[in-house]
């Protein structure tokens, strides 16, 4: 993209095209012969990783949109149907949802790299500002995408974020109405967010083209911050950078696949598996992890308008970075003070992210204010001051000179720091749930835990029996069809057995030719009928507390793991908070209420239920359900079986997910090794 190309294809057909549209020459000059500095390290591969992620998000997103229904009454269900019924729908959804997090993770690394090596300095100001615009567009896209599943966090996140605009004096309220298309967040809001969520990625792609164009005009910065002078300082983009980026992407894919196949809900919020309800606010609203530092800034400023201004300025200030930092030396490698402040700044951002996930009270508020000050001080005080008082170390004359004097000790420590920081940052969501001083549910040994976990068929069949004989009198299971009972990875019934099971149920159908509704025996395609016709009926029949639908209960409930457990969970693949909680609640009923706890009339004491007062009476007692296979008929066994069954109900394709995950990992590891050795071979002469 740096001017007209003198490239001439040898094929006559390509020559014909090239004379009319020099597109092959453009690609050739931009991505083949384009000179790239020899000393780039692996932090520079994140540009390629980001392009890859953008493509991935657009690709999976377009297919998901083919199956999604943007309507307030249908959106939640349509997402569940994607996961359950669409071929590899679970994979598409996990790729897209985890992909958003990975995209932001990569963009943060990319931005911090720019910050550390001074990539925003003359002549790359426009390049940097285009990057900030991309980041802002990404934030808008990510936010609107999070609204689409229409769960509780989607709805309340949308409410909180759109309400930010009401802080604007005079016109704020009208702007909010315009955003909503109504008097509150509702169906029109969901519709327009869907439209914009589909549009913005293409705008991002457009700005990315400008970003790359600006990059190829100014040339890449490099770790030493000296411009390439002779041909010895650069290598051609292909194959050198191409193969290095390929290896970077392969390594990044390993992390990405870890989330897709083993930890798909690690970065999400359990509340988002509860359908949106405008009448109930979740106790603790937290945005996605990638917004947490800015959310912390918003909350730490006590005035509403000032808080909103503070939050937006925290991003906008990046645009002015090229002029705030006037130091002549680009790379922090040669700036002893700037280097230290950079790492302090990284720590401030991570801590702000941690605070953003905490309830806004006590010490957290004060810490938030201090860190907010530090965040802005870095840009407004530290950087302008450093450029005046700091004496940088001598910068090498050329890139080749820098390579000869290369010391590589810093890289390892930087990598370690970043991995630790990343783990801390990524894990914030798990900590976000405020635990109200209740006992932590005890851990269980689940057959479905771990990378090779499988459902215990016997437990699924027994659990189905417990659900049918006990739970189903109050709780629905509306996302499960009878046909699911015969599907692979499920309770292991044959198609005939599932059909026989279905025919025991009476299903309402109609209207018939006479216009009347009628009842008929169930078919495999029917869904489990719910015990109550609607939520109000369920509420009225149960003393004001509607028994929740159990289809997703093991994913919709969780408990705070706390620091540092959520970090270990990432490595141990612990994903069983939901089942642990459900099993604990089923067994947590106690006759004797401990002192100091008052249980209202019509409620029961439960050790593990948040607040301890549960409306559901003790549902299970020993010997209540008979088992044919000789398993003990105890409450502990019932709880374990029915929880296993409900875990399958929430995640029917888990076995396929983990099986495919293993295959993907074997492939990716081999692929990454091949890329690495190819890269070594290609670069052998260049070092």
């Amino acid at each position: 993209m740096s001017g007209p190309s003198d490239y001439q294809p040898s094929n006559p057909a390509l020559q014909w095209i090239e004379r009319r549209l020099p597109i092959i020459g453009l690609v050739h000059s931009s991505f083949v012969v384009y000179p790239t500095p020899r000393n780039l390290n692996y932090w520079w591969t994140f540009g390629a990783i980001l392009s890859f992620m953008l493509g991935m998000q657009i690709l999976t997103g377009v297919v998901l949109a083919m199956h999604y229904t943007p309507h307030a009454d249908l959106a939640f269900k349509s997402v569940e149907l994607i996961v359950r019924d669409v071929n590899f729908g679970w994979l598409l959804r996990n790729m897209h949802a985890c992909g958003a997090s990975m995209f932001f993770f990569a963009v943060y690394v990319h931005m911090l790299r720019g910050l550390y090596y001074g990539s925003y300095k003359e002549p790359r100001e426009v390049l940097w500002i285009l990057g900030v615009i991309i980041y802002l567009l990404m934030m808008a896209t990510g936010f609107m995408g999070y609204v689409l599943p229409w769960g509780q966090m989607s709805f309340w996140g949308a409410t909180v974020i759109t309400n930010l605009f009401s802080a604007i004096p005079y016109v704020g309220e009208s702007i909010v109405t315009l955003l909503w298309g109504g008097y509150s967040v509702g169906n029109p809001t969901l519709n327009r967010f869907f439209s914009l969520h589909y549009l913005l990625p293409f705008l991002i792609a457009g700005v990315v083209v400008l970003h790359v164009w600006a990059l190829h005009v100014a040339g890449q910065n490099n770790p030493d911050g000296v411009e390439p002078k002779t041909e010895k300082d650069t290598v051609p983009f292909t194959p050198h950078a191409t193969i290095k980026d390929g290896f970077g992407v392969a390594c990044f894919l390993l992390l990405y696949a870890w989330f897709i196949f083993y930890m798909p809900n690690y970065l999400g919020d359990a509340d988002n598996y509860i359908p949106a309800n405008p009448g109930v606010t979740p106790p603790h609203i937290v945005p996605e992890w990638y917004y947490l530092p800015f959310y912390a800034i918003l909350r730490s400023i006590p005035n509403k308008l000032a808080g909103v201004i503070g939050m937006f300025s925290a991003i906008i200030i990046l645009c002015f970075l090229p002029w705030l930092d006037a130091a002549k030396t680009r790379s922090s490698k040669y700036r002893p003070l700037a280097k230290q402040f950079f790492w302090i700044f990284v720590a401030v951002c991570i801590l702000l992210g941690y605070l953003g996930a905490q309830p806004p009270e006590g010490i957290y508020v004060i810490a938030g204010r201090v860190l907010t000050f530090c965040y802005f001080a870095y840009f407004l005080i530290v950087l302008p001051l450093l450029s005046r008082i700091e004496t940088p170390r001598p910068v090498p004359n050329s890139i080749s000179e820098a390579i000869l004097a290369k010391s590589s000790k810093a890289v390892a420590s930087v990598a370690v720091a970043l991995v630790a920081a990343g783990a801390l940052f990524l894990g914030n969501m798990q900590d976000a749930r405020a635990s109200e001083g209740n006992d932590k549910p005890p851990g269980n040994k689940w057959s479905f835990a771990g990378p090779f976990g499988k459902y215990d068929r016997g437990a699924l069949q027994r659990g189905l029996k417990v659900y049918k004989e006990v739970c189903s009198s109050c709780h629905g299971l509306s996302f499960i069809a009878f046909r699911n009972l015969a599907e692979a990875g499920g309770p292991g019934y044959s198609v005939a057995q599932a059909a026989a099971f279905a025919s025991d149920y009476k299903i309402k159908d109609g209207p018939n030719d006479a216009g009347d509704m009628f009842e008929r025996p169930g078919r495999p395609a029917d869904y489990f009928p719910s015990p109550f016709p609607n939520e109000q009926a369920a509420r009225a029949a149960n003393g004001g507390a509607a028994p929740p639908d159990l289809s997703l209960i093991t994913k919709a409930r969780s408990y705070g793991r706390g620091f540092p457990w959520f970090i270990f969970d990432f490595f141990t693949q612990y994903q069983e908070q939901g089942p642990d909680y459900v099993a604990a609640v089923l067994q947590g009923f106690e006759e004797k209420v401990p002192e100091g706890v008052t249980i209202p009339e019509g409620s029961y004491y439960n050790k593990y239920f948040p607040g301890h007062a549960i409306k559901m009476p003790k549902p299970l007692s020993d010997g209540q359900v008979t088992y044919d296979d000789g398993s003990p008929t105890t409450v502990a066994q019932y709880s374990k079986d029915v929880t296993t069954f409900l875990m399958w109900a929430a995640e029917p394709h888990m076995e396929a997910r983990k099986r495919l995950g293993f295959q993907v990992f074997v492939f990716l590891i081999i692929f990454a090794f091949l890329m690495y050795f190819t890269k070594k071979k290609v670069w052998a002469d260049s070092h």
């Binding site: 409410t159 509702g186 009448g279 909350r299 808080g307 309830p359 806004p360």
Partner: protein
């Protein structure tokens, strides 16, 4: 992108019968997709609301200005926290009023902000008494 005709039509005034709401109780109705709290306040709650020095409040407004004369026991407010739009919980917090679980704002028995990050009192929707036991919201 402003609300379309059907959304506006669905936002027409609604009538609410107050006779089943006993003293000390409150009901929540939805109007224009927003929850409206209608509280039948006790003597104690009214006295508390009136005993406050209005000038000391973050958003000064007297209780008299927030209810209809002759119907002092009825408080009608939009149950949306003026901070960032969560729904406060009735009968919680230190002021016998509302408590917002999101960011900890507390409102008194007149729906006025007393503590926390919210900048303003819970708004009173437009409403009038059609009869002694019936109001029209909107």
């Amino acid at each position: 992108m402003n609300p379309d005709a059907s959304t506006i039509a669905a936002g027409a005034p609604i009538e609410v019968d107050l006779s089943p709401v006993a003293e000390g109780q409150d009901i929540k109705v939805f109007w224009r997709g927003k929850p409206i709290y209608i509280s039948h306040r006790t003597k104690k709650q009214i006295e508390e609301a009136r005993a406050v020095n209005v000038a000391s409040l973050p958003d000064p407004q007297s209780d008299e200005a927030r209810v209809k004369p002759g119907h002092e026991q009825w408080l009608v407010v939009i149950g949306i926290c003026t901070h960032l739009g969560c729904i406060p919980i009735a009968h919680e917090g230190n002021y016998d009023g509302f408590f917002c679980p999101c960011h900890g704002s507390q409102y008194d028995s007149s729906g006025r902000i007393r503590q926390g990050p919210a900048p303003a009192n819970l708004p009173v929707p437009p409403y009038q008494f059609v009869s002694d036991t019936k109001i029209q919201i909107g």
